[in-house]
Symmetry: C2
Subunit: 229 residues, 2 copies
DNA sequence: ATGCGCTAAATTGTATACAACTATCTGCGT
DNA sequence: ACGCAGATAGTTGTATACAATTTAGCGCAT
């Protein structure tokens, strides 16, 4: 996706690794992320670990409490509501912008992603489930990248990542696959240039995801288990 | 010296101070911000200076180049266009959300801000001009805060701050005062519960600001600027 | 002068050291 | 057993030290 810097700095790599772990739910909300442990895991000093955690806090994925340390964010129900309100507010506009400039090749990319998503839906197991979560988010991110607006793209990356946290906390297990057919419907509307309909479908899609939320407790992996393979 | 929020860490204070300086145009785009200088200015070590600069880079106000240091962001014309595209995409939704929950007291706050803005417009001098810029941005930020969505509020803070940079670079001098009456029109529409009209006015307002920009590629500095620092 | 290669100075990248704070444990008194 | 003061260990906050890289300066050949 972003091929700006060929060499990602140390802290950025760590940030990305932890973010993936959070988004793919290997790290549960509320998990403590001590600077020593993080640094130890990646064989770097606390300096870089700390920088990575700070970066994640700017994205809303980690909350750092003064003199107490960093934790995987544990969004409140109100926060969750605001995250989805933001998505409802923003995604139709992104979709519209993307629809105006989308190419057949890009439509094909979306179809391909949908296929992959469907394939993963059929499989069982934690790892397939994680990949499915990621693919589902990637659909929205790909649309954002097609909008041609890097700022909105980055904002969507933040919203999708935080949504994953919310779903991890409050989502019901069967919910995540619900969106699949809706993704397909949106693509179809895009192919037919029915932009308003696509926006409408998107709004309903987001509403459906949100409607499936409910309070729920999840058990967490420890930090070490999340990264050892 | 400052007996502010004790939870605000040193790095955050420095970040806020530098951000204010950038938004109020006391620091010109492209200005080098060396960690030593920043630390020296605030009597802290490079550690905190670096953290503050990193934070600002996440907000898009500072660009850090690997092994080269941090500079006040110098948004390209394309970046400028995307910033305003993002605002057009987002602000109508924010306005709508705010309109649905706004109270008479809050409408009054907006009126008050408008008054202050008008007062500053009359004055001359750099400092009044900076205050005017700030007040103009505060109008949009206040609306965002009335939307009740903290995430959108933070996003708008970023967009308004970056807009200030863009206007500093590409704005024509007489332009910034244009928006004043439009702010008033939007408030009036809000008072009359004409939400769609308010959104329309907002879109035109943003378009007007953008239309006043001279988005020509200024790839190279003038010779004078290139050597002074 | 202009351009090139080299050395020296300055700046950033990362690790370590120390200070400040928090959390945990211990031992005592009740 | 319970609660609490104080010691102890562990964690974070900040400063400093060292390594890696860039930038600036200088001499030299063309």
């Amino acid at each position: 996706m972003t091929l700006g810097d060929p060499t990602e700095s140390g802290a950025q790599q760590i940030r990305d690794a932890i973010r993936d772990a959070i988004v793919e739910r290997r790290l549960a909300p509320g998990t403590k992320l001590s600077e020593n442990d993080v640094g130890g895991l990646f064989n770097v000093s606390r300096t870089l670990a700390r920088a990575a955690l700070q970066a994640l806090s700017y994205e809303g994925l980690v909350s750092v409490e003064k003199n107490r340390g960093a934790f995987v964010a544990y969004p409140s129900p109100e926060e969750a509501r605001q995250i989805f309100a933001a998505r409802r507010l923003v995604e139709p506009g992104i979709l519209k912008s993307a629809a105006e400039r989308i190419t057949p090749a890009q439509l094909n990319q979306l179809r391909q992603l949908l296929l992959e998503e469907g394939r993963l839906m059929g499989e069982r197991g934690q790892s397939a489930r994680r990949a499915e979560i990621k693919a589902s988010g990637d659909f929205h991110l790909m649309l954002a990248s097609f909008s041609g607006n890097l700022i909105m793209q980055r904002f969507m990356e933040e919203l999708v990542a935080r949504s994953s946290l919310v779903i991890a906390l409050y989502g019901q297990s069967s919910a995540s696959s619900c969106g699949h057919s809706e993704h397909g419907d949106i693509i179809t509307a895009l192919e037919r240039k029915e932009i308003d309909r696509a926006c409408d479908l998107m709004l309903h899609h987001i509403a459906h995801i949100e409607a499936d939320l409910d309070l729920r407790e999840r058990k967490s992996f420890g930090l070490k288990e999340a990264f050892e393979r």
